[in-house]
């Protein structure tokens, strides 16, 4: 079982774990914007960078992303050295220039001593920090791959294919949920949901007409879990009523 030393603490690890896994398990806070347990680590935001060294290689130091670097026996990790803090401050400073109106970024930036950006702010953009979580969740978890990225570099943006309402989207709005800066807009009414310029019909309860998933998501669930067509016909309230009707016949103890 490999052991690493994080900020002076000896921590036991499993083979194949990342440094971030070990930190989370031991309550060591490392900031990360593009990290989410539901998807594979990506290493894009660079906020989780940490300083590593190893007694086997004296004089050697490197800075790597904790979310991707695999544990190695004897690795010495610093999660809060001055160089690490400077790196994080620069990343947040640059992100603040990119999204000067984002409260989430500003709050994090202030934690690292950046009150105002030292760089030229963008004046025409939204709060997307290109963390990729929306695309990755849709790709890896939902399996729809309904959205992706267009262009590259500073003008890269998250987009539907050909900028048209995405045909593969199931309207689950998981992308909007995982977005750290609340960029993706969802318009919700009792009968419809609009996301990515596509209007989805809500799947309504046969009894009371309430809804919480789209018909496309319902179809997706039926396909994925191989269920009968009527499995989702009732909403949670009405299901409870049905169960309660059964349970009222329970004998006393």
């Amino acid at each position: 079982m490999p052991e690493i030393i994080v900020d002076g603490r000896r921590l036991k690890c499993e083979e194949g774990e990342t440094i971030l896994d070990v930190c989370h398990r031991n309550g060591i806070k490392v900031p990360a914007l593009c990290y989410h347990e539901a998807v594979e680590p990506w290493g894009g935001c660079r906020l989780c960078m940490i300083e590593i060294s190893h007694p086997k290689w004296p004089g050697w130091k490197n800075w790597v992303t904790a979310c991707l670097y695999p544990v190695q026996d004897g690795l010495v990790v610093g999660t809060n050295t001055s160089r690490v803090r400077r790196l994080r401050a620069t990343v947040l400073d640059l992100l603040l220039a990119r999204c000067p109106n984002s409260d989430v970024i500003r709050k994090l930036a202030v934690e690292y001593g950046v009150e105002e950006t030292s760089y030229q702010p963008r004046d025409d953009g939204d709060n997307c920090i290109l963390c990729g979580l929306c695309v990755r969740v849709c790709d890896e978890v939902i399996g729809a791959s309904a959205i992706g990225t267009a262009y590259r570099g500073v003008i890269k943006e998250v987009s539907e294919p050909l900028r048209e309402p995405p045909p593969d989207c199931i309207g689950c709005a998981a992308c909007a949920y995982v977005c750290p800066t609340d960029v993706i807009k969802v318009l919700q009414t009792p009968t419809h949901r609009v996301i990515w310029d596509r209007t989805f019909e809500m799947h309504v309860c046969k009894e009371c007409g309430k809804s919480h998933i789209t018909t496309d998501q319902r179809d997706w669930l039926i396909r994925k879990n191989d269920l009968p067509e009527d499995y989702y016909d009732l909403c949670d309230d009405c299901k409870r009523k049905v169960v309660a009707a059964t349970q009222k016949n329970l004998a006393t103890f």
Partner: protein, 627 residues
């Protein structure tokens, strides 16, 4: 005709050699991209036409072949003759008749088409091998280019092609890797990773399916080594990959060619088809049991896809973004399977290493950088083109002996080595050996072999800005330091070249560059600050001049420059017609006058003036715009 065994291969080789020896003379017309652009296709066509008109048998008496790039692109279209060994430069279709008459039939040399020493116009060099440009080279990776028809398998066989493969198939995979290790071969694409070590980790990787990839993306501006190899000697690339496939146990290979190289794709396709037909690709190659085939994958036009992990994403049809390489590609590469990716030049060194032994290559180069390297020598040097030399040669030898020194006798200022990932090396470091390590110590790198030579007319601030802009546009955008950091660095540079720069800006550039170097995910971002930091290190005075004096001494930064015609003007009138805005007026033999209102500081007049009397001077700059 399928070759079913090594015996079949050797028989075909003998036949090819015999057929070649039957031909008395051969005219080789270079049809690499450079010479093609110069009209060499028409030259080749003219040769065929005129020879046919004269009734000369083109199968026995004189064969016309089109070849890949000789490397001496400055002097193209290039025509060489076998067996006489004569080289003619700047050949046009109108010269062909005379060449046939005087040289082929008459055996005489046409003076005006022969290479002349640029510093001593009386010195003519007729022989290809005696021309200093070629004489000082050791062509190993480039050994076949220019000497054969890239579409002909028989030409390749006649020049010892596939001898390496034949020998490899009689060795054990471990022995092949040992031989590569003995040669000291390190990746030629820029990373310099020991090739044998890479192959060994792929062999040790667990997993049935393994891939071989040839990186033909060559994104560095000014680099064309790999292009010339893929265009001019494609069978060599395939042979190297076949040997690699046998060594690591792969049955599928890809050659990733950048979008901008259609001729390379065409020639590689032809070579692959010829190999498949001959049974050199496919199942049971030469009866050895090796199954291997190669597919060409084309890039979409992104520099970042030259990065190996981004390349693999691109081959898989995904967005070309690199990933952190804490887990190596030899363990999890293409489709998450063990993959060996090597550069084109690395692959073509393999067959000769196996054929002649690793020690043979190791005789060249120096202790840590064995073998030779191909360089694209470009910029303000007299002999621009493709050269291959043993590593360890000094920059001075490369630029002055082979390159022939600076054009128009101007002063050397610096050389950008390694493309946008490299740095500028100044005159005082000209005696640095060119290899994997010495240039890196000075903040640059040898990289894939690009060498851009600069003279006193190059603004070093502008050069750094140029490379920054290039990388900013090519950044994939996945990680914050590169995507946002390069953008902000360029904004700071814009301030400096427009005359609004401050010393705080310079400090901020250095600070941010440090974080981009450490924070970026891949080598594009990590090395992007190299041109910035190396020019600041070696040419800091130019930066300070731009900031304090609002002056660009070379006149390149337009916002800081006004052009002035000094009284050394001889009134020749050459500058008047080249000015795009008609800003110059003057009578013959009288001092010319430049109208500043019309002048757009394009520098065309400066370039053409025979007496260098047009000089840049600091322009007046508007008051500082607050940051």
């Amino acid at each position: 005709m399928r070759l079913k065994s090594i015996k079949d291969l050797e028989k075909r080789r003998k036949d090819a050699i015999k057929a070649k020896e039957k031909v008395r003379n051969t005219v080789l017309v270079c049809c690499g991209t450079g010479c093609l652009a110069g009209g060499s296709a028409a030259v080749a066509e003219e040769f065929r036409k005129k020879l046919s008109e004269r009734g000369i048998d083109m199968d026995v008496e004189l064969r016309v072949k089109t070849t890949g790039c000789h490397g001496f692109c400055e002097r193209g279209p290039i025509v060489t003759f076998v067996p006489s060994g004569i080289l003619y430069q700047k050949v046009k279709p109108k010269h062909v008749d005379e060449i046939i008459e005087k040289t082929i039939i008459g055996g005489d040399v046409i003076r005006k088409l022969v290479y002349r020493d640029p510093t001593d116009k009386k010195k003519y060099v007729e022989q290809y091998s005696e021309i200093p440009f070629y004489k000082h080279q050791t062509r190993i990776a480039l050994r076949n280019i220019g000497q054969l028809d890239p579409a002909s398998l028989d030409d390749y066989l006649a020049r010892d092609g596939f001898k390496g493969l034949a020998k490899a198939l009689s060795m054990k995979p471990g022995e092949i890797v040992d031989e590569v290790e003995r040669s000291g071969l390190r990746g030629r694409g820029g990373g310099g990773f020991p090739t044998a070590r890479k192959w060994r980790s792929a062999i040790e990787a667990v997993g049935g399916k393994k891939y071989i990839i040839c990186n033909g993306d060559e994104g560095d501006p000014g680099a064309f080594m790999d292009r010339s190899i893929m265009e001019g000697d494609p069978f060599d690339v395939l042979e190297g990959m076949m040997i690699g496939a046998y060594a690591i146990g792969s049955d599928e290979g890809y050659i990733y060619v950048r979008q901008e190289y259609p001729l390379a794709v065409k020639h590689l396709r032809k070579a692959i088809d010829a190999c498949r037909e001959a049974g050199l690709l496919g199942e049971n190659i030469l009866g050895s049991g090796l199954n291997f085939d190669i597919t060409i994958a084309r890039g979409g036009g992104a520099f970042v896809c030259g990065e190996s992990s981004a390349l693999m994403m691109s081959v898989a049809g995904k967005v070309g973004e690199p990933r952190a390489k804490y887990i190596h590609s030899t363990e999890r590469g293409l489709y998450d399977l063990p993959t060996v990716l090597n550069n084109v030049e690395t692959w073509v060194d393999i067959p000769i290493i196996i054929e002649k032994g690793g020690d043979w290559l190791a005789q060249y180069g120096n202790e840590k950088s064995k073998g030779t390297k191909a360089f694209a020598l470009v910029g303000r040097v007299n002999n621009t083109g493709l050269v291959e030399v043993p590593m360890g040669i000094t920059l001075r030898e490369l630029i002055f002996n082979i390159g022939g020194g600076i054009q128009k006798g101007r002063r050397f200022k610096g050389v950008q080595t390694g493309g946008p990932s490299g740095g500028c090396i100044p005159a005082e470091l000209l005696d640095l050996p060119v290899d994997f390590d010495h240039l890196t110590e000075q903040g640059s790198m040898m990289g894939s072999g690009g060498m851009i030579v600069m003279d006193e007319r190059t603004c070093m601030v502008d050069i750094a800005r140029y490379f920054l802009n290039f990388l900013l546009e090519e950044s994939c955008g996945k990680c914050v330091p590169c995507r946002e950091g390069l953008k902000q660095l360029k904004i700071l540079y814009d301030r400096i070249v427009e005359g609004f720069g401050t010393m705080e800006d310079l400090e901020r550039i250095e600070w941010l560059s440090g974080d981009v170097q450490i924070g970026s995910l891949c080598a594009l971002g990590k090395s992007a600050p190299n041109p910035v930091l190396s020019t600041i290190r070696f040419f800091r005075d130019e930066y300070e001049e731009h900031i304090h004096d609002k002056r660009c001494r070379t006149g390149v930064c337009k916002a800081l420059t006004k052009l002035v015609i000094e009284d050394t003007c001889i009134g020749c009138g050459k500058c008047i017609p080249v000015c795009p805005t008609d800003a110059i007026a003057g009578e013959l033999k009288k001092l010319h006058v430049l109208d500043r209102e019309k002048c757009i500081v394009c520098g065309s007049c400066v370039e053409i003036c025979p007496v260098d009397c047009i000089k840049p001077e600091p322009a007046k700059v508007a008051e500082e715009v607050p940051s």
